[in-house]
Amino acid sequence: MRALTWHGKHDVRMETVPDPEIINPRDAVIRITSTAICGSDLHIYDSFIPTMKPGDILGHEFMGEVVDVGRSSTLQKGQRVVVPFVIACGSCFHCGQQQFSACDNSNPADKADISEIAYGYPASGLFGYSHMTGGYAGGQAEYVRVPFSDIGPIVVPDGLEDEKVLFLSDILPTGWMAAENCEITPGDTVAVWGCGPVGLFAIQSAMIMGAHRVIAIDHYPRRLELARAMGAEVINFQDVKVREALMEMTGGIGPDACIDAVGMESHGFTLDNNVDKLKTATRLGTDRPHVFREVLMACRKGGRVSIPGVYGGVGDKIPIGAMMQKGLQIRTGQTHVQRYLQPLLEMIGEGKIDTTFLISHRMALEDAPAGYKMFKEEQNETTKVVLKPDWAAGAAA
């Protein structure tokens, strides 16, 4: 089959690799009909994620048709499914608590040492996201092996086309959980850093959950425009000082809840971010937590901080005093995707949630390397790239 493989910084290639097979009883094999490039893939593209190996197949946002099942799978051949990017067993303690991204059993035993050393506990398995999270082949390919297929994938009705449901795999539940972690109550102002797919879905979710106001922060006019179209007020961090602006816009109180939908690769030319850039370039540091710092400073006293943005290592000069003295509550994590599939699918079906507004480019899987370059270099125009394995190279919409 054809698949998108990683070979190094800004070097991804389409290659022919063997088709996947059923290995374990609960497996299924899916023929992929739509797959997307995620902001998280850019962290890999930029070589920010350790434990990648040349030839690894990327992609964790995908859906398709079931073509083969193991004897303990509950899926049937021919079903259309969306697959969560988090691999979870459904039977460990954490899965029982619906903390699917903390699953104890989805990371192969020999891959779990790295995160046990780095984080104190083994991470759970993720598709196409380095060997630290299992080394699982991803879904920017024609086919993918899906472990624990009786737990993760959700069957979608034929009436809902791919583009309406594809984002159930990651960014839609991620935006939803980011807003849920804000525990929004009437009258709340929610500030969202980053108007990429995650930030935009977080804005949409916060609106649905009844936020009084949402203030969106980014520097790309087109992305800020999309945020505004959903009813958010916007701040362009190139023009104004973010914390001052937020204080003024909230009558000197600060936002009740703040969402960091940027993560480890913050943009901008502030002093702290430039120092972090130097440190990560010289391997003296791992992350650029500029937004996390800004969020801790800007959030109101006793407010809530929600961090869907991905961080991987250690961060310097975190204003820990502000966090403690203001009594902030902090919630974060890889999304517990499985928890949100059913309710979000229903809302899509009822027309309460729209996901298609996000897609700026549709192209053949064969052209995925060009898709990565665009999503990385032309972020203003490129809000989301969907790849189609069955389109001929060069086809685009």
Binding site: P18, R26, S91, S106
Partner: protein
């Protein structure tokens, strides 16, 4: 008559001690060995205690989660015969005798005279908090052999016997809780060994 020393002692097991030297020495003394490499680790399995015990009590199940153990067979004598894969297609073997068996609570074994590698194992089972399954504590010790066998053994355990035991315990938990051992393989005939 608690001495001040005892009162201030941690409740953690010996295997968590900062100074592991005492543990190795104590173990070697008890077993009458020259030296001992000791490893202990606890894992919580989300299954009832009798089920976890029963699975472990059948030594023939070991190859399903112990990566290097090719087979364990039970002879009429009651001894179990272990064949363990070593690098370069070689194997090491030994017979073990069950030294303790308290159903639901404890299993212990020891290799008998003539083992390629002298070793003992002790597995304890305790109820976790209500509704949270069973805590399994494994303590494994072996007498590190010198010479060619010592080198082979170092390779076998990837220079880190703790690493191998830790991974085996993870696989044990996976197998008990999910019915399979997690793997990222995509083909039956490539990569690391499956179950």
């Amino acid at each position: 008559m608690t001495t001040e020393n005892q009162a201030s002692r941690s409740d953690a097991p010996l295997t968590a001690q900062v100074d592991q030297h005492d543990l190795a020495k104590e173990t070697a003394d008890i077993l009458g060995w020259d030296d001992a490499a000791v490893f202990g680790r606890s894992v919580t399995v989300n299954k009832p205690r009798h089920e976890v015990y029963a699975f472990w009590r059948d030594f023939q199940n070991f190859p399903s989660f112990m990566e290097n153990v090719r087979s364990v067979t039970i002879a009429d004598s009651g001894l179990s015969h272990w064949i363990v894969e070593a690098p370069g297609g070689q194997t090491v073997e030994w017979d073990s005798v069950l030294t303790e068996d308290a159903p639901g609570d404890l299993i212990a074994w020891s290799s008998v005279e003539g083992a390629d590698i002298k070793n003992v194992g002790r597995i304890e089972f305790k109820d976790a908090a209500p509704g949270r399954g069973t805590v399994v504590t494994a303590t494994i010790a072996y007498d590190p052999p010198g010479g060619r066998l010592g080198i082979l053994l170092a390779k076998l355990f990837q220079n880190e016997p703790k690493l191998q035991a830790r991974r085996d315990l993870r696989r044990f938990k996976q197998f008990m809780e999910t019915g399979e051992v997690a793997t990222a393989r995509t083909h039956l005939d490539n990569g690391e060994r499956g179950q």
